[in-house]
C-alpha cells in the first residue's frame, strides 16, 4: 500500500510539471496517436518486413528496403500508378467542369432551386459499392442496359465490351465515378456563386462586358477558392478510389483498369503479403500528398488574388 501512495504522489508531482497547454491538448494527442500515429508507424515498420497475414512470425523478419525496391522495379506497380494518375486527372477535371456547369445552371433557377439542390445530391447518398454494382449491370456486354438499348434502337449490331475494352473499361469506371461525385463540385461551387457580391457584376454590366467577360474576369476568380477546396477534397477521395473499381472490374481484365488500390488490396488481403502492400501504399501516399500540396498552393494563390490571403 505505501508503494502505491508513493507512485500516486510521484505521478501527481510529474503531472504538476507538465505545462497546462500540453495537459489540455494531451487527450487529443493520445487519441490521435492511438488512431493515426500508431497504425501509421506499425504499417511503416511492417513495410520493411516480409510480413504475411497468414504467418504472424514474419512480422519480425526485417528485410530492409526489399519491398520498396521491388515496388519501384515493378512494371505492374508503375502501370497502376500511371493509371491512377490518369484516372485522377480525367475524373477530377470532368467532375469540375460538369459541376461548374451544373452550379451555373442551378444558380439561374428562380423557382424550385431548393428541390433541385436536393435532387442533385442524390448520387452522393449511394454507397460506392452500390454504384459499382449498378454500373456493372448497366455496362454488362450480354444482358446490360446500354447494349440492349443500343441494339434495340438499331444503333449497334454487336455486343460492345464496355468493361473489357481497354479504353471503354476505363471510360465506364470514370463515368460511374463522375456520376456519383459531380454533385460535390456542384454544391461547393454553388455555395461560391451565392457568396459573390453583386456590385462588381452590376458594374461589369454597366461597363458593357459580355457574359463571357463577366464570367471570366469576375465570377471565376471569386469561385476559384471553392473549386480548389473541392479539388483538394475530391483528389484525396479519387486517389483512394477502390470500391467502384473493385466491384466493376477488380482491376481487370488483363490489368487494364488496375489502379493502385485494387493492386494493393489484392496484394495485402488476398495474397496476404501485407509488408509489400504497405510498401506500395507508402510509395503511393506521395501521390496524395503531391496533389494536396499542389491544390492548396493554388488555393492560396487564388485567395491572395482576391486579397483574402493571410
Amino acid at each position: 500500500m505505501p508503494s502505491l501512495i508513493l507512485i500516486f504522489e510521484k505521478s501527481n508531482m510529474s503531472l504538476k510539471k507538465i505545462p497546462p497547454w500540453l495537459l489540455l491538448i494531451l487527450p487529443a494527442i493520445i487519441i490521435l496517436a492511438a488512431v493515426i500515429l500508431i497504425p501509421l508507424m506499425f504499417s511503416l515498420y511492417s513495410s520493411f518486413t516480409s510480413y504475411r497475414l497468414t504467418r504472424p512470425d514474419t512480422l519480425f523478419n526485417w528485410i530492409g528496403t526489399f519491398n520498396y525496391e521491388k515496388a519501384v522495379k515493378s512494371s505492374v506497380f508503375w502501370a497502376a500508378f500511371g493509371r491512377t494518375i490518369l484516372f485522377l486527372t480525367v475524373a477530377l477535371n470532368l467532375e469540375m467542369f460538369l459541376g461548374l456547369g451544373l452550379a451555373l445552371l442551378v444558380s439561374r433557377v428562380t423557382r424550385g432551386q431548393r428541390l433541385l439542390r436536393t435532387v442533385m445530391m442524390f448520387p452522393m447518398m449511394f454507397s460506392p459499392v452500390l454504384v459499382g454494382f449498378q454500373f456493372k449491370f448497366i455496362f454488362n456486354d450480354n444482358v446490360g442496359l446500354v447494349n440492349n438499348a443500343l441494339q434495340s434502337l438499331g444503333l449497334s449490331n454487336r455486343a460492345i465490351p464496355w468493361l473489357v475494352d481497354e479504353k471503354l473499361a476505363m471510360f465506364s469506371i470514370i463515368f460511374a465515378e463522375v456520376w456519383m461525385s459531380t454533385s460535390v463540385f456542384a454544391i461547393l461551387i454553388l455555395a461560391g456563386l451565392f457568396s459573390i457580391p453583386q456590385d462588381p457584376q452590376e458594374a461589369a454590366k454597366v461597363d458593357g462586358c459580355s457574359p463571357w467577360q463577366s464570367f471570366r474576369h469576375i465570377t471565376l476568380p471569386f469561385i476559384m477558392p471553392f473549386i480548389f477546396i473541392a479539388m483538394a477534397i475530391r483528389s484525396l477521395d479519387v486517389a483512394r478510389a477502390y470500391d467502384i473499381v473493385q466491384v466493376m472490374t477488380n482491376g481487370g481484365p488483363a490489368r487494364r483498369t488496375e489502379i493502385l488500390w485494387t493492386l494493393i488490396g489484392r496484394t495485402g488481403y488476398v495474397d496476404a503479403k501485407m509488408g509489400y502492400a504497405n510498401a506500395m501504399g507508402y510509395v503511393s501516399i506521395f501521390l496524395a500528398i503531391f496533389f494536396t500540396v499542389y491544390f492548396f498552393r493554388k488555393l492560396n494563390a487564388a485567395r491572395a488574388e482576391l486579397g483574402m490571403a493571410g
Partner: protein, 437 residues
C-alpha cells in the same frame, strides 16, 4: 412440401442414428460452447438445421459468430491469424483455400477412427491432408464441372445436316476439347447467341486453365513447385481460350465473368454449351429462373489431347482450430456434420456427397426423376476424373499472377508464348521469394 417432409424425416433419422452410433454420450459436453465461423448461403442451411440435434445429444451449444462466403471468410481468417484471435473452434474450409492456413487448424486424425474416415471418397481425404495433417473433413458439397448443353441444338435437323456437311461427323455433345471448341464456334451467332463461355478472371480463370493443362497432358507445377505450365500443354490450353474468343464464340465480356455471371448466362438461354458446377443443375432446369429449363442436357466433361478429362474439383469441409479450448467437442461437431446421415440430409438438397455410400442413396432417391438421374449420373462419372488444386499454400497467390496473363493473351495484348512466359516468370519469382525452393 414433399421435400421438407423428407428432410424432416431424414433429420430425425440423423438424430437417432447419431445418438445410436456416436461414441459421445448425452451430456458429455454439458456447458461447452463451440464458436463457429461457417460459410453462409441458402444451400448450406439444411445442414446447419441439424446442429440442434448435436447440441441436444451432447449438451454443448454452438454459437455461429460469422456466416459469409468463402472469399470473405478467407480474408477474415487471415485477419484472425494476423491478430492472434483464433480461439474460435470450428471453421468452414475449402480444398482450394485450405493450404493457405498451415498453422490455423488442428490435425483431425486422432479424433476420428480409421473406419470412420474410410467412408469418405479416398481422394478427398488425400486432398484434405496437408503436410501429413488431416486439416478438414469434407461435407456433402463436392464440386467438379460437367458439361451442360441445350438439347434442342443437337436435335435440330438443320444443325445436324450443316454440321455433318462441314465436319463430316454426326452432331453430338462433345467428347474432346477440340470438338467442344469446334461446336461452340459452329453454334455461335453473336450478339444473340454464343457457343460457350468461360470463367475469365480470378481463380476461376486459372482453375479452368489448370484443368485444361492436365487434360492436355501437362502440369501446373513440377514436384518442387517450379512452374511447369509454360509447356506444349500450356500453349495448347491457352490457345483454346484465345481461339474461342477470337472467333466470337464467347461473349466479349467473358474475361470479366465469374460463376454468377456464367450461371446467369446459361440460364438466359443464350449459351449453347457450358462447363459448370453441379450446384447449378436445379437452377438451370427451373422454369421460373431459367429460359433453358426443359432443354438442358448434362454429360461428362470432355477430355483433352492426352485422353484425360478435365476435372478441376473442390469440396467444402469443416476444420477445428489449434487454439480451440475444447478440441474434442469441436471435432465431435465436425464428425457429426460430415457423417453419413448428415450427408444424406445435405445431398437431398441437390449437392454432391463426399462419402461413397451416400452416392448410392442419392441415386436411389432420384429414381423416377429423369433430369435428376441424368445429372447424378453425369456428376458420378465426372467425379471419377476429379483432381484437386496443387497442394501449395501459394496456390491462390499463383492464380493471381497467372490469370491476368491469360486475360492478356485472350484479349490480344500478348501472344500465347509471351503470356505464358510472363506468368511463369512471375510465379517462379514469387515461389523463390517465399522460400519454396
Amino acid at each position: 412440401m414433399k421435400k421438407s417432409v423428407i428432410q424432416s424425416l431424414l433429420s430425425a433419422t440423423t438424430c437417432l442414428a447419431m445418438m445410436a452410433t456416436s461414441p459421445v454420450l448425452a451430456g458429455d459436453y454439458d456447458g461447452v460452447t463451440i464458436d463457429a465461423k461457417l460459410i453462409g448461403g441458402q444451400q448450406y442451411e439444411g445442414l446447419y438445421a441439424l446442429i440442434s440435434n448435436w447440441e441436444m445429444a451432447t449438451g454443448a451449444s454452438v454459437n455461429i459468430i460469422s456466416k459469409k462466403n468463402h472469399f470473405e471468410l478467407d480474408r477474415e481468417f487471415k485477419s484472425d491469424i494476423a491478430a492472434g484471435t483464433t480461439d474460435w473452434c470450428v471453421g468452414s474450409n475449402h480444398s482450394s483455400f485450405a493450404p493457405q492456413y498451415p498453422s490455423l487448424y488442428t490435425d483431425m486424425t486422432s479424433y476420428n477412427e480409421a473406419e470412420q474416415l474410410a467412408g469418405f471418397v479416398p481422394a478427398m481425404i488425400e486432398s484434405s491432408t496437408i503436410g501429413g495433417r488431416l486439416v478438414m473433413l469434407p461435407r456433402a458439397q463436392f464440386d467438379v464441372s460437367v458439361l451442360y448443353y441445350q438439347v434442342s441444338l443437337y436435335e435440330d435437323a438443320s444443325n445436324q445436316s450443316a454440321y455433318k456437311a462441314k465436319f463430316g461427323v454426326d452432331l453430338a455433345p462433345p467428347i474432346t476439347l477440340d470438338e467442344f471448341k469446334q461446336q461452340a464456334i459452329f453454334f455461335a451467332d453473336p450478339p444473340n447467341f454464343y457457343g460457350t463461355q468461360y470463367a475469365g478472371k480470378d481463380e476461376g480463370a486459372a482453375g479452368r486453365f489448370y484443368e485444361m493443362v492436365v487434360a492436355n497432358g501437362g502440369a501446373m507445377f513440377n514436384a518442387d513447385f517450379t512452374p511447369a505450365f509454360n509447356s506444349d500443354a500450356g500453349r495448347e490450353s491457352l490457345q483454346w481460350f484465345v481461339d474461342l474468343y477470337e472467333a466470337g464464340a464467347v461473349p466479349p465480356g467473358t474475361t470479366s465473368y465469374l460463376w454468377d455471371e456464367l450461371g446467369a448466362g446459361f440460364a438466359s438461354g443464350t449459351i449453347g454449351i457450358n462447363l459448370d458446377w453441379p450446384g447449378w443443375s436445379g437452377y438451370f432446369n427451373d422454369p421460373e429462373a431459367s429460359k433453358a429449363a426443359g432443354n438442358v442436357g448434362i454429360t461428362v466433361q470432355p477430355m483433352g489431347s492426352a485422353g484425360i478429362h478435365t476435372g478441376w474439383s473442390g469440396f467444402h469441409g469443416f476444420s477445428v482450430t489449434e487454439d480451440c479450448a475444447n478440441k474434442e467437442a469441436a471435432a465431435s461437431l465436425v464428425t457429426f456434420l460430415t457423417s453419413e446421415a448428415s450427408q444424406i440430409v445435405e445431398s437431398a438438397g441437390g449437392s454432391l456427397p463426399t462419402r461413397t455410400a451416400v452416392w448410392d442413396v442419392a441415386v436411389a432417391a432420384a429414381e423416377g426423376d429423369e433430369y435428376r438421374t441424368m445429372a447424378l449420373n453425369a456428376f458420378k462419372e465426372g467425379a471419377k476424373h476429379a483432381f484437386a488444386v496443387p497442394q501449395t499454400e501459394y496456390w491462390i497467390e499463383a492464380t493471381n499472377l497467372i490469370f491476368p496473363e491469360l486475360q492478356a493473351a485472350i484479349l490480344g495484348d500478348k501472344t500465347v508464348d509471351e503470356a505464358l512466359q510472363d506468368a511463369s516468370d512471375a510465379v517462379d519469382e514469387m515461389m523463390q521469394e517465399n522460400g519454396v525452393y
